[in-house]
């Protein structure tokens, strides 16, 4: 048994993010990002670039701030009372927290898939068509039908649901629901997709399907995924970021992180010594 009081990670200094947090050709870049919930600081000085058409995995123990950080990227934290953010977060070199930046437009460009599948209590068709209708992406019914079909095909769900498009989306299995949520997100053709533990509520088979889908989608979209599964991070991502108690400890190519971590904390985590 591990004696909590003697856990060594409390003694290890987190000074500066090690590894290679910065890259050329960044889609997102964050500098000196601090996040507070009321008085409690959740993120300390996060500096990281997220590359175009790449999958970046964010790992770390529960409560380390990785989900909070992800939710900063499409300003979903705006909806949380008492949450405030300082520092720069740039999407294509535009400050997304600038006062002229419209969060509605931002969220159309940066889609999000949540931990628990959350289809609307509507038909499968309406679930996928909702975003497109909202933003006026289809000018008529035929275009909309096409868009729905295309999105469902891309999400790998079309074959399973093509005869039941007008049945409720909530009647699907968990894995199908999550793919429906992905189809709904890509129907508005975002540039970035954020995924917050998208497979933690799914069985291994459904997880494998979604992981394949992620790899496929990364050809077109930039994807940032938060995950508790290190295997998943290793399987799907090109780069990995390790968070610890609100600090961004290490960012590097996935291979490097899992085979040759630079920081002691990263090593402790991936070797299973805590977390």
């Amino acid at each position: 048994m591990i004696d909590i009081e003697k856990r060594e990670e409390f003694d290890i200094e987190i000074d500066k993010t090690v590894g290679k947090p910065f890259i050329d050709d960044a889609k997102f870049s964050t500098r000196n990002v601090d996040v507070f919930y009321d008085d409690k600081q959740a993120i300390f000085d996060a500096n990281i670039d997220i590359g175009k058409n790449q999958i970046i995995a964010m790992i770390g123990p529960s409560g380390c701030g990785k989900s909070t950080f992800l939710r900063c990227l499409n300003r979903m934290n705006d909806t949380i009372q008492g949450c405030h953010i300082s520092g720069d977060i740039k999407l294509d070199n535009e400050d997304i927290y600038h006062k002229h930046q419209d969060p509605v437009l931002l969220r159309a460009r940066v889609g999000m898939v949540f931990q628990k599948p959350n289809p609307f209590p509507k038909s499968i068709y309406d679930n996928v068509a909702y975003g497109a209708k909202l933003h006026g992406l289809a000018s008529n019914k035929i275009e909309l039908d096409e868009l729905v079909e295309k999105s469902l095909i891309r999400a790998g769900l079309f074959k399973e649901v093509k005869d039941s498009l007008h049945k409720p989306g909530t009647g699907l299995s968990g894995g199908q629901q999550q793919r429906l949520c992905i189809a709904r997100t890509i129907a508005i053709d975002p540039e970035v997709i954020l995924m917050d533990e998208p497979t933690s509520a799914l069985d291994p088979i459904a997880t494998a399907v979604i992981e394949e889908l992620m790899i496929d989608l990364s050809k077109k979209y930039t994807i940032a995924i938060v995950t508790h599964s290190m295997q998943q991070a290793a399987r799907v991502s090109q780069r990995t970021a390790y968070f610890h108690m609100g600090h961004l400890v290490e960012v590097n190519d996935t291979n490097t992180v899992f085979t040759n971590p630079e920081h002691q904390l990263t090593e402790n985590y991936i070797t299973g010594r805590f977390g």
Partner: protein, 427 residues
């Protein structure tokens, strides 16, 4: 598990089950007691009220003599309207009971039929002028005392001075009965007439229309105001803001304010300050709106709160604005709860009497209201008015009106259940 532990658990098990059984028994007996009370209430009301759905009619050979009517051979419509029908009825009754002497007995004879007989005869003659100078066998409403007697409400064995029908009147009634001239029929006029001082003529149509108009005003005002307040407070208002907290506390307190206070408020503000007319469905609706709003707001907020936040996040993440998120997803999902709350609030308002007493809806009104600014009364106030009347025949009408009101309430609650089923969504 340690064998010892198993023993300890086993020992306590019987006690635990006994406790469970006892608790179930308490629950069942509580339900039994409440059902017994409910049944006794319903049976009592039904037994008293059901006779009111029947009414005694009396058959009279009417000699529609133009001389008695004081009509010439040529007469205008107005003369026909004003003709002396009361004399015709009087003479026809006299002809049926030739032996009646004396003022007192003559008056008593007249009082076998309802006063409405005169108007009924008038309408009959105006509709069929050819009946003038013929004899017609017509059915008229009987007086309330005769009606009560027919329904077994007057005991012959009592001394004459304790009876509403005297001995000589009983002789007449017996004669009419033996000639099959007294009959109980379904009481249509209870549903088609307005309030009256004469029990046999009194009906609940005016009160029903008044209730309907009042409910309409209440519904049109309280539903939009209540639901938008709930949506604003739940979805848009800043949390942990002292003004919002203050409003919230006040709404919760208002729900517990005695309803008569809303009546006083309506009297002071709507009637006193804004000059809204008294005794009309408009003011009734306004006051009941004040009373219903807290109920609607509180239930609607609970319904909105019960919508899973993941639905809001899903819509926001797709780029829906907050208003779109609220109206496309949250409100539809909360609709069953909102509608149920509204209907329960309405049902409460439908049965409310106290605040309406304060704003003059307790007045005696013998007219069907034509609009929301016509004087009217409502069902519960009508019940209150009748229960206060000394005539024996009003007792059964009071219970009958209660039955009608309960019928409305059951229909409304049934509607609430149907709506909830219809709009319910599975997550």
């Amino acid at each position: 598990m340690n064998k010892n532990t198993t023993e300890i658990i086993k020992l306590k098990l019987a006690k635990r089950y006994a406790k469970e059984k006892r608790f179930k028994l308490y629950g069942i007996s509580a339900i039994a007691v409440s059902i017994a009370f409910l049944l006794s209430l319903l049976i009592n009301i039904s037994v008293t009220g059901l006779p009111a759905f029947q009414q005694t009619y009396i058959n009279i050979e009417v000699d529609i003599d133009s001389k008695l009517l004081k009509l010439d051979s040529q007469y205008s419509e107005q003369e026909l309207f004003r003709a002396n029908y009361s004399k015709v009825v009087k003479q026809s009754l006299k002809a049926m009971f030739p032996g009646v002497k004396g003022r007192k007995q003559k008056r008593a004879l007249r009082q076998l039929v309802s006063k409405s007989a005169i108007y009924q005869l008038r309408d009959f003659v105006i509709d069929n002028p050819s009946v003038i100078d013929t004899k017609q066998s017509l059915w008229f409403l009987a007086r309330d005392d005769v009606d009560v007697f027919m329904k077994g409400g007057i005991d012959r064995s009592l001394p004459e001075s304790d009876r509403r029908l005297k001995d000589f009147q009983l002789v007449w009634v017996d004669k009419l009965l033996s000639e099959n001239r007294l009959e109980k029929r379904f009481n249509v006029s209870f549903f088609t007439e307005d309030d009256s001082r004469e029990p046999e003529q009194a009906g609940i149509k005016g009160a029903m229309i008044g209730s309907l108009l009042t409910m309409l005003v209440t519904m049109l005002l309280s539903f939009p105001i209540g639901v938008s307040t709930a949506i604003y407070l739940e979805e848009f208002a800043p949390k942990n803001n002292k003004w919002v907290d203050l409003i919230e506390i006040n709404i919760n307190n208002l729900a517990a304010v005695p309803s008569i206070v809303f009546g006083l408020l309506g009297l002071a503000v709507f009637i006193g300050l804004f000059g809204v007319p008294r005794s009309v469905p408009l003011i009734g609706g306004l006051v009941l709106t004040l009373m219903t709003l807290p109920t609607i707001i509180i239930t609607s907020r609970a319904a909105l709160k019960a919508v899973p936040p993941s639905i809001r996040e899903a819509a926001l993440a797709l780029g829906a604005s907050r208003v779109q998120t609220t109206f496309h997803h949250v409100v539809p999902a909360a609709m069953p709860g909102i509608l149920t709350g509204t209907i329960i609030g309405m049902a409460q308002a439908l049965g409310e009497t106290a605040p309406l007493l304060m704003i003059g809806m307790v007045a005696f009104i013998a007219d069907v209201p034509q609009g929301i600014t016509d004087p009217s009364t409502v069902l519960p106030v009508q019940i209150y008015l009748w229960s206060d009347s000394p005539e024996r025949a009003f007792t059964e009408r009071t219970s009958a009106a209660i039955m009608v009101l309960l019928g409305f309430l059951i229909v409304m609650n049934f509607l609430a259940v149907i709506m909830r089923k219809k709009f319910e969504k599975k997550w």
